[in-house]
Symmetry: C2
Subunit: 181 residues, 2 copies
DNA sequence: ATAACTATACCGTCCAGACGGTACAGTTTA
DNA sequence: TAAACTGTACCGTCTGGACGGTATAGTTAT
């Protein structure tokens, strides 16, 4: 039979902890020690799975790419249209994709180039889907509305409680309908 | 009698350097040593004017408040209307206000609470002016469009050159006209 | 004379990463 | 079948460097 080593439980715990800390306290405070402590893992154990902090980031970005691709596919197939789907999904809802995006944003803010590149690619894909729905002339307007929602969520998410951003979506959807006519 | 000490040249140089470093390399890399070096000032000279990093931040936020207030007043008085003025001014144009906003955003991303509070206040003022122009139902849509522009600028500004975001503004203004009808 | 610096040395703390060791599941060999 | 061995999954400690901040003695401009 093939060898069956123990399952690497710490690995996922570390990744989730890293993501959570990025979201809650920012990149600066998401130190290896803090991540290890949050994950309930020793620092040595953390470094066994991720040789350095950059490796931690890379895996997080890969996870983001996967989730973003899934989401873009769902957007393209959405019955309500890509634009409405996009607006709706731009509210902070603590989904895996939301978390991955905000976490990655914290890295981009710190001028992490690779993160910025990935972001640009994801944004482009979103823009393409929206343009296919509402036409190229309005796509940017819709994209930026959603981005604005994210932007505001980013600045309030964290230790502070999250307000009722869900109400904003209705306004944005109404604006979208108006643009569509 | 009239002893006239020399003018504090270093003070402004330090503030500008701090702002530039925040924009270009993020909060993490905007160390006191880096700021002093960029400003062409000794570290001792920097600390002569700003006893600690927090003081540096506070003065930057005060400068932001002043510029934001000026801008909001101009927005309220704009002939084209507050909403169009806002959209237009949301493009990254390297103005003092743009720089102050992006610099402050870098701090907010690092979960600096006071910075977030100031931002929320500025956003509220903007929202009020826009609502006075296009009505409360559409204000959030317009605000978020502008924020989206800023958001994207934040993620691309820095060492990388700035693309033609100015073209986007025309799209957004067209969308705004459409909403207004 | 005095504010506005320069230059440099230094301190405590924090952090990324290296390193050596431990526990244990599974595999081989006698 | 059991001792010997192997590889994975960790733990705990240490080190070297960076960073924020202090201190202090000397220099320049007004």
């Amino acid at each position: 039979m093939g060898s069956m080593p123990r399952k690497p439980l710490a690995r996922d715990a570390v990744l989730d902890a890293f993501e959570t800390l990025l979201i809650d306290v920012g990149e600066r405070a998401a130190t290896l020690d803090a991540v290890a402590k949050k994950a309930g893992v020793s620092k040595g154990g953390l470094l066994y799975h991720f040789p350095n902090k950059e490796a931690l980031i890379e895996v997080l970005l890969d996870r983001l790419d996967g989730l973003a691709k899934e989401d873009a596919d769902a957007m393209a197939a959405a019955a309500e249209g890509a634009a409405a789907y996009f607006i709706r999904s731009s509210v902070w809802a603590d989904t895996p994709l939301d978390r991955a995006i905000v976490a990655a944003t914290r890295l981009a803010e710190v001028a992490h180039q690779e993160t910025r590149r990935r972001f640009a690619a994801i944004q482009q894909r979103w823009l393409d889907e929206i343009a296919a729905d509402v036409g190229p002339g309005l796509a940017k307007a819709v994209l930026y509305m959603g981005d604005g929602l994210y932007f505001n969520a980013m600045l309030s998410v964290g230790p502070a409680p999250q307000g009722g951003a869900a109400a904003d979506v209705e306004e944005l959807l109404a604006a979208l309908e108006r643009l569509r006519r």
